[in-house]
Symmetry: C2
Subunit: 459 residues, 2 copies
Amino acid sequence: MTKDAIIKDFEAIVGSDNVMTSETDRHTYSYDAAVLDSVMPALVVRPTNSEELGKTVKLCNDNGLPLTVRGAGTNLSGGTIPHPGGVVVLTNGLNRILEINEQDMYAVVEPGVVTAKFAAEVASKGLFYPPDPGSQTVSTLGGNVAENAGGLRGLKYGVTKDYVMGVDFWDVDGNLIKSGSRTVKCVTGYNLAGLMVASEGTLGVFDKLILKLVPPVLAAKSMMAVFPSMKAASETVAAIIANKIVPATLEIMDNFTIRTVENFRKAGLPTDAAAMLLIEVDGHPAQVEDEAAKVEEICKQNSASEIKIANDAAERDAVWQARRDALPALANLKPTCVLEDATVPRSQIPAMIAALDEISNKYNLTIGTFGHAGDGNLHPTILTDKRDTKEWQRVEEAIEMIFDRALALGGTLSGEHGIGLAKSKFIESETSPGTLAYSRRMKSVLDPKGILNPHKIIG
Amino acid sequence: MTKDAIIKDFEAIVGSDNVMTSETDRHTYSYDAAVLDSVMPALVVRPTNSEELGKTVKLCNDNGLPLTVRGAGTNLSGGTIPHPGGVVVLTNGLNRILEINEQDMYAVVEPGVVTAKFAAEVASKGLFYPPDPGSQTVSTLGGNVAENAGGLRGLKYGVTKDYVMGVDFWDVDGNLIKSGSRTVKCVTGYNLAGLMVASEGTLGVFDKLILKLVPPVLAAKSMMAVFPSMKAASETVAAIIANKIVPATLEIMDNFTIRTVENFRKAGLPTDAAAMLLIEVDGHPAQVEDEAAKVEEICKQNSASEIKIANDAAERDAVWQARRDALPALANLKPTCVLEDATVPRSQIPAMIAALDEISNKYNLTIGTFGHAGDGNLHPTILTDKRDTKEWQRVEEAIEMIFDRALALGGTLSGEHGIGLAKSKFIESETSPGTLAYSRRMKSVLDPKGILNPHKIIG
């Protein structure tokens, strides 16, 4: 078929308003939040219901057109960068919350629903959807599932995977595949819903998601503790967990990040602090009191020089605003900001912090470190300018060394940002040649023409 | 190769003591806990380390020998019934707990470790492994993962799936595949560990499991509430959840089951009670007090005639012994005991209970009903004699009607017992023809000769 004929076919499915071919439109969807080159798609298609979505997938497959599904494009590993000449399928027209079932504590949503909007809607019904990726105000639930997005509450509440009860998705032939259930327990057939999680749009196109909800949090207490060194702060993290306390959130920030955040928004942060922990415990009010007291005690035993407990909602908001400011504040400093997410078992956080220090010195790079210390998921953030090719080479070497160190400490290449294009070449070093071969065989039979988000994950 | 030559090859791998060919041995491994005909394997092989296991799998594949992995054989859907003339691979020689990491709260185990033994070992380190399938005293962790075993704590703590952080497994060619990590967050590559869960030994052979552990429970309170009808009891279940209380355990028993249990072990159960709920709340001591008081109030509002709170460990044990007695007591009554596990969203429990009553009357069958009401996972248990062909036909019709009703109520064919051989013909009615085709395509490329536990799940 000619390109014009294909465009007409897409228009027949989704209407001409929902097929975009202008250079501006195509450029808009040529990149995501990863530090990678943009790639122009041939066209952008926006289905607005399930049937249109299924037909769009089938039309792509019939014509061998590479297809990349895109929610908000907040991906940090290039998972939403299209294939040259391919089709971008937008999900922002598939943004309905189809059901919030309060009695059975689940929701059914279309993939394009925005995470924070969903969480707020759930909260308004007196329930709680815990996953809170950093991009939640714009990210979509479909993207969250496709990437197995994490967030600040990972250590106590788990990640997106832990809230996926079922996924309906389209296979490349336009058949609707159903996996999972509205029930707490379900073992009918292969766990395809589980396979879809973190599959980055390479094995199917999400039609509907069934998500688990939990009872609301009864009480919470936030605090901020200041430490004389990153070592002391990171040892405190390990000590809190070793004392069998699992805070809802347990974040770390180094001095460079603290100063940058304070410059970004004058919030009265201790700019001379070598390190800071931001902690929230939640649960039954009595549990919160007990755990907060224990956490305070452990911080003191580990040389905390100051512990501030948020006394009201405004003070609590201030704590978390500082954390949310970390990335935008750092990103403001230099033209290029590489946000890594190598992850280690939490007891190895002190060792990983030391390794980052060494790497920053060795390659003479500015690395701000913050992140989800409580679940071992650090975000070393390299500030650079990609146009400075010499420095950029050092950045690439530093990234490889970060991966090496994380793996040597029993960790993983990626805690929550995905593999996408950025990390696919490193995947074998964490797994095995057989793992990659097994994955590729699976992909080859489920997507024989290789149209579903080509080259992501398995290269 | 001749059969003798193949036996010699197996002996070269695992030693002659670990290859069994006698009729007695083969008969021992010809059946499991499902009500299905036994099938004689050609031989039984017992690897005692990882390398032997990998070589065993490869030898089977090289010779096109069907292979069924067997832990304790407690499977209720025929998942461990071998293929005619196939090989049974026992995992009881792969029973080492390789690591319990208290700081990072995970464990690494071989697949043949017995569930309750593992849970006790974890408890002795001051941590908690929640999944508690009914067969836990003999079942193995490998079997639990292969079936995604549930148990009594599903509603609050989830099922086996929720504790699988990683799986190393052998593919048919004897390559070791690695998926998941020792970290709380990991998105490196496809979620093959998730795919392995509930795959019933059809996609790979487990080598090692990485399992999540959680902090211990600080306090718990058990109670027993008596109701004038199953309707009142099941409405109480829905009311407890609707009040945002998620007990650790919330079990139901009908009058027939109560009487049978009391006959089995004189424990002083109220034999005139139409229905009973067995409830345990756990958590922080203050939370336990609050929730227990609320649960008691809700039971009273829903016409509970008696509520007994266990005052000490002995009384608590008595409550749960009664529940554990339900299946053996029922199974004692008749030659054949069909334990079903159709599952519905928990708000539909009253409707499902009514349907079971109707089905029991329509087909003139004795059905004892008990189970995990809190997560919608009932165990209607049909007591019959398979040799009575007329009644057996009514039993089969009743089972189909149980499935129909569960699906009509938004439920699933199987909450926790698996599909195996017993339910594979019904799978399409819950999912879609495309789902089965997608699953079969995947299986065909990952196991081209179809040696891994043939015909299970996808027929």
